[in-house]
Symmetry: D2
Subunit: 493 residues, 4 copies
Amino acid sequence: MKNSLLGKLKFTHTHFPRLNEECGIFGVSGSKDAATLTALGLHALQHRGQEGCGIVTYDGKSYHSERKFGLVGDNFTKKQSLEKLKGKIAIGHNRYSTTGGETIRNIQPFYADLHGGAISIAHNGNLTNALLLRERMVREGAIFQTTSDTETIVQLVARSKKTEIVDKIIDTLLQIQGGFALSIIANGMLIGARDPHGIRPLVLGKLKNAFILASETCALDIIGAKFVREIENGEVVIITDGKVKSRRPFPKKQQRPCVFEYIYFSRPDSILKNKTAYEYRKNLGTHLAKELDIKPDVVVPVPDSGVPAALGFSQESKIPFELGLIRNHYVGRTFIEPTQQIRSLGVKLKLNPNQSSIKNKKVVLIDDSLVRGTTSTKIIKMLHDFGAKEVHMRIASPAIKYPDFYGVDTPTQEELLAANKNLEEMCDYIGAKSLKFLSLDGLYKALGFDKRDKDNPQFTDHYFTGEYPVRPLDYLNDENLKKLSFLSLASNN
Amino acid sequence: MKNSLLGKLKFTHTHFPRLNEECGIFGVSGSKDAATLTALGLHALQHRGQEGCGIVTYDGKSYHSERKFGLVGDNFTKKQSLEKLKGKIAIGHNRYSTTGGETIRNIQPFYADLHGGAISIAHNGNLTNALLLRERMVREGAIFQTTSDTETIVQLVARSKKTEIVDKIIDTLLQIQGGFALSIIANGMLIGARDPHGIRPLVLGKLKNAFILASETCALDIIGAKFVREIENGEVVIITDGKVKSRRPFPKKQQRPCVFEYIYFSRPDSILKNKTAYEYRKNLGTHLAKELDIKPDVVVPVPDSGVPAALGFSQESKIPFELGLIRNHYVGRTFIEPTQQIRSLGVKLKLNPNQSSIKNKKVVLIDDSLVRGTTSTKIIKMLHDFGAKEVHMRIASPAIKYPDFYGVDTPTQEELLAANKNLEEMCDYIGAKSLKFLSLDGLYKALGFDKRDKDNPQFTDHYFTGEYPVRPLDYLNDENLKKLSFLSLASNN
Amino acid sequence: MKNSLLGKLKFTHTHFPRLNEECGIFGVSGSKDAATLTALGLHALQHRGQEGCGIVTYDGKSYHSERKFGLVGDNFTKKQSLEKLKGKIAIGHNRYSTTGGETIRNIQPFYADLHGGAISIAHNGNLTNALLLRERMVREGAIFQTTSDTETIVQLVARSKKTEIVDKIIDTLLQIQGGFALSIIANGMLIGARDPHGIRPLVLGKLKNAFILASETCALDIIGAKFVREIENGEVVIITDGKVKSRRPFPKKQQRPCVFEYIYFSRPDSILKNKTAYEYRKNLGTHLAKELDIKPDVVVPVPDSGVPAALGFSQESKIPFELGLIRNHYVGRTFIEPTQQIRSLGVKLKLNPNQSSIKNKKVVLIDDSLVRGTTSTKIIKMLHDFGAKEVHMRIASPAIKYPDFYGVDTPTQEELLAANKNLEEMCDYIGAKSLKFLSLDGLYKALGFDKRDKDNPQFTDHYFTGEYPVRPLDYLNDENLKKLSFLSLASNN
Amino acid sequence: MKNSLLGKLKFTHTHFPRLNEECGIFGVSGSKDAATLTALGLHALQHRGQEGCGIVTYDGKSYHSERKFGLVGDNFTKKQSLEKLKGKIAIGHNRYSTTGGETIRNIQPFYADLHGGAISIAHNGNLTNALLLRERMVREGAIFQTTSDTETIVQLVARSKKTEIVDKIIDTLLQIQGGFALSIIANGMLIGARDPHGIRPLVLGKLKNAFILASETCALDIIGAKFVREIENGEVVIITDGKVKSRRPFPKKQQRPCVFEYIYFSRPDSILKNKTAYEYRKNLGTHLAKELDIKPDVVVPVPDSGVPAALGFSQESKIPFELGLIRNHYVGRTFIEPTQQIRSLGVKLKLNPNQSSIKNKKVVLIDDSLVRGTTSTKIIKMLHDFGAKEVHMRIASPAIKYPDFYGVDTPTQEELLAANKNLEEMCDYIGAKSLKFLSLDGLYKALGFDKRDKDNPQFTDHYFTGEYPVRPLDYLNDENLKKLSFLSLASNN
C-alpha cells in the first residue's frame, strides 16, 4: 500500500491536528480511593499528554466529572477536589499538548446520558474512519459537540440497536478502525478494550481487591499495584464485582504494537513484554555501537530521551559517557526571540553545552530518533560554538519517512527530514561530521527478534517502512477533508 | 383544569429548577455592528436575567460564539472581544439568575452542526412537554449535553426529516408546547418565533437597513432603532436580505400574553400594546386607590418595582408620595448573618427606612405583588422599628395562588402565601395593620379592558385563576419526574 | 483668598488625581463580630467609594488585614474570609473609584509596624500640605510605598518623638492640614478624629457594649446600632474598654461641614444634624419651586440623585412628579461606541426616556447639581428625541465655580461649566428651554438657616463662593507639583 | 565558635523561615533588550529559586517593575509584558520556594523613592545582623513593609547621611554583615557588590557593548554573552556608560565561597574558578570511589543531583553506571496521601525504580549530600521493594552537622541527621547495607587543593566543621528573636 498511498496523503495531515494525539488512560474498579488512585496513575502517565486531564467516577447512582487544562499535579491534588469525585469506579485521561486554542469540551473522559443509563469513555489512539462515521450520523440527526474522534465512539454506542450496554460497545468497536485503547465506565462496569492489532498499549493490574487498567506499568508502580498482564490485541475486558471477563469480538489478527512505544513513548521504567523500555533502549544503543566506524572521545546523549541508548552505546564501545548537554527542567511557555544577537534561542531555553565534556573533543551525539532535524541542527551548532572538535550524530532507530495515523502526532511527510533528503544531505543539513541511523535489522535485533518477519512484522513500523496495518480511510479521499464544524469559538468554552 | 391539576402539582416544581427561567433574547440581521448592537440590546434587557449571557454571530461562512457567566456590561464591552464576533447576523441571550452551581453549557445561545449547515438558538420561555420529547429522542440514540429545554428544540431540528431548514424548524415548533419566544440563526437567515398564545413577548424593530428582534422595546431604544410591531402569537418571521417574511404554521388562537409582563417583568419604559409598562402600572395603583378605605398620611413604595403603582396611587388619592425606603444599589453576594443581634439582615442589605417619611405616620405601603411574603414581613417590621405608627399593605395585583409553567420562576404552590392563607391570616403573617389586593376586575380595567372575558381571557392570568392555556404535560405525570442526567458535575465545565 | 488663588490653581488639579478622593470609613471596638459589622457598615457606605475596600482587625496580639479591589458585597461576604479577620477591634475603608490603573498598595486601611507596637489607619478626606510634609520626610530618609496622603499621616506618627501612641497621633494631627476624618487602631484602642472645621463627617454609634465610628448614620442602621452623636470638629475620641474619652488638641474653630454632604454625597436616609439628607434635599426642591416662573406639565428627576428635590418641587408647585427617565441598574464597564448611528450612548447605558411621561409635554427636569454639563446635555437631547415639547432645567443648588481640595474629586476649574459660561450660555450649551440654579440664600434657607453668615459661614461652600477655610498649600506652589514617584508600575502590585 | 554557638542556636532557626533563602540575581546595563535579556538570564538561574521572580528596569526617567509568583517562563515570556519594562538597564531576581503563605511584597527586586532619585535592589544571601539594624531604624521612625532583610539594605541607603548614591550604598555595605551578592540600579548606574568573603557568587559578563551581572555563568551562556570574570570578594563594581569601575571599601579578607555552590547549588554547566561544577562533582565521585571498600554490581545515582558524582564514581571504579531510578519531571503541588496502602508516596511522585538495573543486584547509591535522611530512607526502601539485593549508600560530600546563616535554607540542627546520629545509627536509620561520606580531605582534593588550610580555609565549610566566617549576631541573642511584624496577613497582598 505504501507508495500509492503516499501520493494521496501529501498535505492532508495538517488539516486535522486535533484528531491526532498521543494520550494516557487509566481505570480502576473496586477501590474506595478510586479517584485518588486515578489521579496518581495519570500523574505517572503525564509524559503521554500535558494539555489537559480529566477524571470521571461512578458511585453506583451518579457520575462525577472533573476536566481541566494543565497537569494532573496542578489540578487533582487537593483533598477537597478529589472528595467530590465519589465512587469506587473511576477512569482518567491525559491529553497530548497540541498548539493553538483548545476548548475544555475536547478534554476527556467523555460522558453521555444514554437511554436507561450513562457511559463515560477515555480513549488513547486515533480512528482512521471517524469522519466517515461522523458524517453518516450527522445526516441522521446526531449533534456533535467536539471535533474529537472519541465522540464518534460515544455517538455510535448511543445509537446502537443492541439492548445490553456491553453489546452496544462491541457493536461500536466492530465499526471503528485504527489504533485505540479504551477505558470505559457503563452500568457499574469498568470496561477496557484494545484494537485488533494492539497498536496502542493497555495493561491490567491489581491492588488488593481492585483491578486497574493503564497505558503503562509505571502507573501501576506509583500506586503499589501488581502488574497482571497486557490486555491482548482485540480483547475486551469487563470488570465487575471483582472479576475480569474477556470477550474477543474481532477475527484473530497478528499483534503489531507501535514500535515507537519501545523507542520513545513509554517511560523507561515501564515494562513491555517482560523487559523495561530502558533495557530495549540500551540495546538499541548497543546495536548502534556495533555499527560504529569512527573513534570518538566521548558519548553525549541528547537529554533525556537519548540517555539510555547512549549508556548502551558507551558500555558496548568503551567510550566514556558524559552529560555534554545540561537540561533546564523549568521550561514554561514560549519566549519571544528578542533580536538577532540571540541565536538558537529555542533550544537554549532547554539545553546548554557542558564545556568540560565537549571542548576540543570528538563527540558522538546520541538521540532516539530524527524527525524534522531542526533541534539537532541547533544542538550541533551549539556544541561547535562551545568548542567541540567534531560532532558525529548517531540515531538509535531507523530513518522516519512516513507519518502515523494511529494516535501519534507526527509531522506531514513533507516535514519529515528523511522523507525528503538522502543520508549525505541530512548530515549536511544538521551540520554533523557524520550521521548514521540504526538499521531496520538492528532495530528488530535490539528488540529481541532475529529479524523482521516481512509477512507478519512483529511491530507496526510504518514510520520506517510505509507498511500500514490499517488503511487510513479518512485520509484517502479529499471529500472527507471538509470542515468538521462551522463554529469558530471566540473563547475556550 | 385548575383544581384537579393542582393536587398533582404539589412538590413537583422544585425538581426542575433549571427548566424554569425568565430570560431576554435579541437578534439582528443586516448590520456590520451586529455583535455590538446585540451586546447593547442585551444590556437593556439585563433585568430579564443576570446569571449569564451569550452572543452568537454568523459571518456568511463560520459561526462565532461567546458565552459567559455574569452581566453583559462586565463581559461584552471590550472592543477586542466584540471584534471576534464577526458577521452581520447575531443573536443574544440573557439567562435568569438561579441559585446553585451552574455550568457554562447551560448558557445560551445554543449551537449545533447539522447536516449541510448549522443552527444557533436563543430561547425565552419554558416548554411543557420537553421531557417527554427528550425521553423519546434519547431512546433513539440522541445525546443531550445540557438539562435545558432549549436543547430539546435543537435536537428536534437536527432530527427533522424535512429538507429545508425553515421547514425543519416549523416541524419542530409543531411538536413543542408551552410558552416560548425564539431568536434563531440558520443558513444566513435570522428567524423569530412566538408560541401560539403569544405568552412570551417578542418585538420587531428596524435600524437603517437592519432588522431587530427583541424581548422588549427598551432594547430598541438603546440602539436608536425604530419599533415596528410585535411579532404576533404563533407567527414565524424569516429575515433575510433586508426582507421580513411571515409564516403562521399554527391553528389560529386567541392571544394571551403573560399578565406579569405588564405587572412586573417588563422594564417600565418598554411599550406593550401602545402603552408603556409604566402607564399600566400607574393605572394599577390608581385602581388600587379607588378601593381605598382608610386615611393614611403617606404613600410609600417598595422600591423599585412598587414605585409606578405608588405614584398612581398617590395621584388618585391625593396622599403624598414619599421615598420611605432607601435602596442600596450595590448589592453583591450573600452576607453571612453574624449573630442574632443583627436581625432582618437580608432585607437591610438592600433597603433602609427613611425616618423623616415614616416616623409617627400612618403608612400605606405599595408593592406590585405578594409571593412568599417573607420580604414584606421584614420590611413592615423595619418600618415599625423606625417609628411608623401604622403600616397598611396594598398590592397592585390580585393574590397569586398558582405557579407558572411557561418560563417564570415561581415558587411551588406550597410556598405561595395566598395559596395557603386567607386575607386575614396573610395580614397577620406579614404584620400589617391592614392588607388588600387589587381585584381581578380592577386588574383588567387598569390594563384597558372593561372586564375579564371569561371564555377567552385577554391574558394568561393563571397565577390568580389557575386557568392554564397549555396543559403542562411534563408536570402531570410522576413518571416524567425522573433524573435528567446521571452526571453530577464536580466543577463548572 | 478666592480670586488670587484661582489664577494659580489653573491646570494643577489634574496632576494629583490620586490625592483627591471621597471615601467612607468605619470602626468598631468591643464586639466579637467586629469584622462582620465592619463589612456591613462598609456595604452601607458603598456609595462613598467603589474602587476598593479593606478591613483591618486587631485580636489583642496580631493585626489581620484584607484589602481588595471592588465592592464590599463581592469581597467580604464569605464566612471563611471574615473568620480570618480575628479580634474585637476593626476598622474599614471604601475607596472612591477613579479611572486608570491602580495598585492594591493604595487601598486602605494602611498599616505600619512602629517601635513597640503597630498602627492601622483609615482616612476620608484630603490633606492640603501632604506633599510638603512628604518631601521633608523623604529628605530625612523615609521610604514611601504609595502616592496616598494617608501614608503621610502614618509616616508622621512613626517619626513622632512623643512616647505615647495617642500623643504621637495628636502630634501628627497638629502638623497636617485639610479636611479629614480618621478611624485608627493603635495599642488596642479605637481612635477617631475629625479636622478642626469638621469638613469631613464622622459619627459615633453604640451596639450593646460596642462603640462604632462611621462616616454616616446609615452604617449604624444596617447593624442595628444606636446613633449617639456626631464627632465634633477638631475632636479626637479614644475608645477603649467600653469607654469613650475625648481630647480637643486644636484651637476652637467654627464648624463648617462640606455643604455637598447635604446636597449630594450622604445617603438620603443618613441623619445630618437631626434631619435626614432626604429632608434637606426635598427642602432644596421646595425652595427651587418657590423661585419658579414657568408652568410646566410635569416634574421629572434625573435619577436617582434628583428624586428627593423633584418630590419637594412637585409637592410645593402641585405639578405632577413622573419618572420620565428610567434607570438601568446593571451598569458594568464602559462600552465601545460602535458607530455614529448610535448617539449619546454613554447616558443611554444608564437612562432611557419614559415616553408616556414626557411626550408632548413641558418638562421641568430636576438635578441636584450641574458640574461639567455633559450628561445634562445628553439627557435633554434624548428627552427631545422622544417627544418632549419643552425642557426646563432646574438645579437644586447654586452654580459650581470652584474646585474642592478637601477630599472631593471635582474637575479642574476649566472643566466646570459655571466657571466659564454665564447662565444664558450654559442654558444654550445644555440645550434647555430655560435654566435656573437655586440661589445661595435659598440654599441656606433650605438647610435651616435664615441666611448665610458671611463672616462665619455655617458650611464650607467654596464650590459656589471660592471661600476656602484652609489654604491648599500643596497646590499654591508649582515647586510642589513634581513627580510623586519614579516608579511606573508595569502591573498592579 | 562552633560548640558554644550551637547550644544557643537550638530551636531558633525556624523562627525566621523567610530570612533564609537561596536566590538568583541578574543585571544588565547598556542593551535595548535589557528586560528580555534579564528574563532569559533569570530563566537560566531558575534552579536557584522558583517561588517568585521580578524584573525592574530604568529608562533614564522612570523605573518599571513587574513582580510575580511562579516561574520566569510562565510570567516573562510575552512580548506585551516585556515591552512595558522599558529601558537599557535592568535587574532581576528569582526567589527561593519556601512553604506557607507568601506575599507579593516579599518578591524582589525591591524599590524605593529616595530624596533626589530612586533605587532598586536584588539580593542573594542573608544578613546576620539585619534584625539589629532593623530594630534600630524602627526606633527612629522607619516603616518596614516586608519581613525581608533586603529591605534593611534599602532603608539603610535611604537614611545614609552621605550625599552621593554610591557613597550611600557603600556606607550601607559597611554596616551589614553576612553573605550577600547585590545587583542594584541607582541614578542610571548598574551596581554589583559581593560580601567581604565572597560567600555568595556573582560574575561579570559582556554582550557587545552591554555589561552583565549574574549569579552564575549559565545565565551568560543563554544570552550568548562572554564570561569576563568573577566579581571579587568585597568588590563593588559601578557600571555606567559602557565602563566598569571598581571600589573595594572593605578591609582585605580571604575569599571563602560557599562550598555548597560547588557541591550542589550551581548548575552543572556553570563555571566556578575555571572549571565547570560538573567537573568538580565528577571529581567528588572519583574521590568517593577511591575510598570504596565493597564490590557492588551497579552504580545508581539519585537523579538528577547525584548523576555527575555517580559518573565519576563509575569511571574510577569501573562499575557500570545505570539509571536505576527514573524521574518524573512533571511534579506539581503536593498530593494527598489517600490511605496506608499507598506508602512512600512522596518520593514515588518523583522517582520510580527501574527494575532492569537493580533487580537482584548489589547497588551502590550515590547522592550529593545527606540532610534529613527522609528521602534516602524512602528510596532505599523502594529499591529493596523492587528487588535490589543490597543497597550501599555513598555521599559525595562530608556529613552536614551545622546549619547555614548566609542565605541557604537549611533545617535546624535538630533536624540534621548527622548532627544527631553516628555513622552506624545513620546507616541503620536509612536502611542501607552500608553508608559512607566523602572525607573532608577528599572534598578539598576533589575541589583542587592538596588539603584544607586550617587557618584560612579555602571555602566556608561550616556545614561540616561549624567554623562560621561571620558571627550570626541576630541568632545569638534571644532578645532578637521577637516578632518581625504584628501583621498577620489574611491574604497575599
